[in-house]
Symmetry: C2
Subunit: 571 residues, 2 copies
Amino acid sequence: MSRRIVVVGGVALGSKAACRAKRVDPEADVYLIDRDEYISYGGCGIPFYISGDVSDVSELRSTSFHMLRDERFFLKDKGVVALTGTEVTRIDRQGKTVAIRRKDGTTDTLAYDKLVLATGTTPRMLPLPGRDLENVFTVANLHDALAIKEKVTEGSIGKAVVVGGGFIGLEMAEALADMWEIETSIVEVFDQIMPGFVSPSLATMARKTIEDKGVRVYTSEKVEALVGEGAVSAVKTDKRTLDADMVIMAVGVVPNTGLAKEAGLEVTPQGWIVVNDQMQTSDPDIYSGGDCAAVKNLVTGELGYFPLGSMANRQGRVIGTNVTGGSARFDGAVGSFVVKIFDNALAGAGLTADRASAAGFDAVGIQVAQFDRAHFYIEKEVIFLELVVDEKTRRVLGIQGFGGKDSGMVARINAVAPLLKYKPGVEEISNLELAYSPPFASAMDIINALGNAASNYLDGRYRPMTMEAFAACWENRSCGDTFFLDCRANADAQPFADKYPEIWKSIPHDQLVDRMDEVPKGKKLVLLCNTGVRSYEAQLNLNAKGITDNVSAGAGIAGLKTWGVDFGLDK
Amino acid sequence: MSRRIVVVGGVALGSKAACRAKRVDPEADVYLIDRDEYISYGGCGIPFYISGDVSDVSELRSTSFHMLRDERFFLKDKGVVALTGTEVTRIDRQGKTVAIRRKDGTTDTLAYDKLVLATGTTPRMLPLPGRDLENVFTVANLHDALAIKEKVTEGSIGKAVVVGGGFIGLEMAEALADMWEIETSIVEVFDQIMPGFVSPSLATMARKTIEDKGVRVYTSEKVEALVGEGAVSAVKTDKRTLDADMVIMAVGVVPNTGLAKEAGLEVTPQGWIVVNDQMQTSDPDIYSGGDCAAVKNLVTGELGYFPLGSMANRQGRVIGTNVTGGSARFDGAVGSFVVKIFDNALAGAGLTADRASAAGFDAVGIQVAQFDRAHFYIEKEVIFLELVVDEKTRRVLGIQGFGGKDSGMVARINAVAPLLKYKPGVEEISNLELAYSPPFASAMDIINALGNAASNYLDGRYRPMTMEAFAACWENRSCGDTFFLDCRANADAQPFADKYPEIWKSIPHDQLVDRMDEVPKGKKLVLLCNTGVRSYEAQLNLNAKGITDNVSAGAGIAGLKTWGVDFGLDK
């Protein structure tokens, strides 16, 4: 007799698991059940539908060959019975059935041999006064997408507030501001955007890009109420009131695990379904994955949470294989990500220094700046990477970066992410073998320079200063303790020395050894050049003379300017 | 007493090793000796200097901060004594000295504690009649670069022949044809361009791009003589005579290992210097690396040869660390590469199927086509990847691809290359965690699709046909044995069915199960769709009915058109 596979939830993981199961076992009865009428859509594409980069919402529901993924498609193309507008209300693990309720109110039970829970998440809605006002949206599904797009195309939205500075918040803010010229603000309760995903330094670079495009960003600021009559008209924070014709709530998600909990399946304290590396829940006939489940974080070894369409698809295939008798594995994830921010990309994988420290590592983040291609090649730009390493073991724990929206940034992140589970040391990054030719990389690529900088730091040869630390130091530059030694060519450095004669001096690196007596004594020196190469060499020259109370601005003046340090000079 | 480090050869590895040594041990006496006046230049940039992408040759000799890397720079900026125009004529291993001869003919001996041989290569010159004619060039150093650029800027070169269709040959052909509009031909003795680096299928895609840009490509063709009076005027091959005002010989390199051999150091039968994973030669006080040395091929475990500036730089740093008392390692390489071909990129890492078979693996190459970004995102293009796997062990041995010149191709190659030494299985590629968001990748990215296709093949579920095999089959389409079943939508497929009614039929995939009786019997079926997704599903539907004498065109019609299959239809 053919096996019956029932999949609950049909967006990313569910539809992938169902189709894979049917491909592996064409005899299987495969059901795909979703309470929504829309299934199998690219939810990650919603901000790009709002922005206009995706012109019609049906494109998010279509295959690459333009077939709409509706019930008919699943039946005819995939051999899967899709039941939309149908809710699974209960799981009977003993009887191996699920109870369903159709849109028309009729109910039924459906037997299963293997059950897949792909119930996803619900956007978190802050318990705020005014949360039920009109024009307050979350971004969870195509209904939201259609409703938001309708509002913005009407032209009635002059101002918008996005609550939350994570992935969806940033993408939505860009969509509203860039295409629709809506005056948009982001309010983030943490002290940086993308908290937990990148360091304060990289977050500030991304923030500056956003602000340069006219979006206001308020961090360390808590929304207290949404205000309005009928429709929202303002957002009240603990610091100000922002006019708003539209509010986008993008403050995270809550896993939809009610069914799993009622059925007595193991869930984490935070509410995610626990699965093993074959994506089985605590009931071996029930599988789960995607946004409602936790998988192993391959860096920490603990359970982690990676709610991404890419994870859901890969896990869905593993489940499809396993519910039909296979034994595919999904070991876990390291949390690779990338988000386009106007003309830039912010990306990473693994842990930030803060997260690594919280996980018990002796973590430090090393920052470098370098051209993305050979410096002599005609097209190139300076990009920024940060490597997070454990000081005790020299193990690489994560990598994050900020650069252009070309794929050059992901080309570096992708090179490190799959390695992280092998616990590479920094030397492996120094020797990392990227595809090289001048139009694509440097002979000593930024990724290698990053490994080199980290190993120099761990060897005690290099004392870097992060962009964040420099900025704080620059704010307090009049305190008298610090002196800035500029190692660039005199033409670049002299304007700074002229403007800040008390604290800034130009000694080009190739003159330093001969002019060592001009180096100020009794001051904490901050060594600077354009991207940190010459200032590092100057540090070595000073080390050799026993002058060690100095730091080198690791990402250089190029990094500091991108970060937003204001040197008070035009260039 | 400070240690004396002598480095012989100052282009890539040599200058890196010297500078790193001095940084690690500021007390060391470091000498960098080169017979040329030009040192520390980006040789890989020469084709881009010829093309005009690099405007002045000094840029290839300069740092990213525009300092010329000459003797003064090495002394003042790096603390390294560079002796240019100086040849090392002999190594005395007992006495630990080298004999040198200066440009002016004077000689001397120089003691060393550690010696580094970074002597590089000499371009191979075929022993052809006419090889000494004027305007016959190799592309080895800046003298060549200047000479070639001078000729092309004079405007006297109307036609050029490039002998050799490898990296340098392709880059030089593009430089001559694209910027200077020189009528350029490539002659390659093997039956494809980039032999040994990519499969015939990918090579043909690249070839078509080159030919579409007006460069003629002759493969399986041997140059027999260069013809001319004073200057070259033609190239005589075993098949034709090509007019040529300039000839570029790009037929590989010969390692400069005379010094090493005379000193009795171990070299391979092919003449490369043998080093261990600390880059030490058979004499522990003598190190080598870069283009004149062989390092371990991390896929085969045998010695391999990776003459790339990127390898030289990383190895140079390892040597710089080790000659100053450190113990850094360079494990080996997998041969990552990328070459820009007009608006495209051809890239890879590890072994091709042919090379893997030659190395004793039971190798197969699996090809896929897919958009490089989410298919619903506004900017995207179909790219092509091939995964080389061992059929017995499911181990991944290599990856190659052809796509746009954006960094999207290297973003995929880079994700796999660093893994190859860990002997990943195809399932690791299926689950590979790339940074995902719609402007950068698909949720199920092409790299995952590639792993999936390979695992489906190895599981006996998928019977693909390579582009090469399809092309041969299409040539013989009138033989009566083969029938083409087009699984695309009828609007796409019908023109083909109308043009080839005897051999081509349109059954859209979503109708196949219901129209199974229309599938021709007793024929070998070739299943087709745009990128191989629907034709694979059709194959599964046929499998389920016991119809298994069929293959699926893995890279689809998109791949076949890029390859150059002519279907005789406008679209």
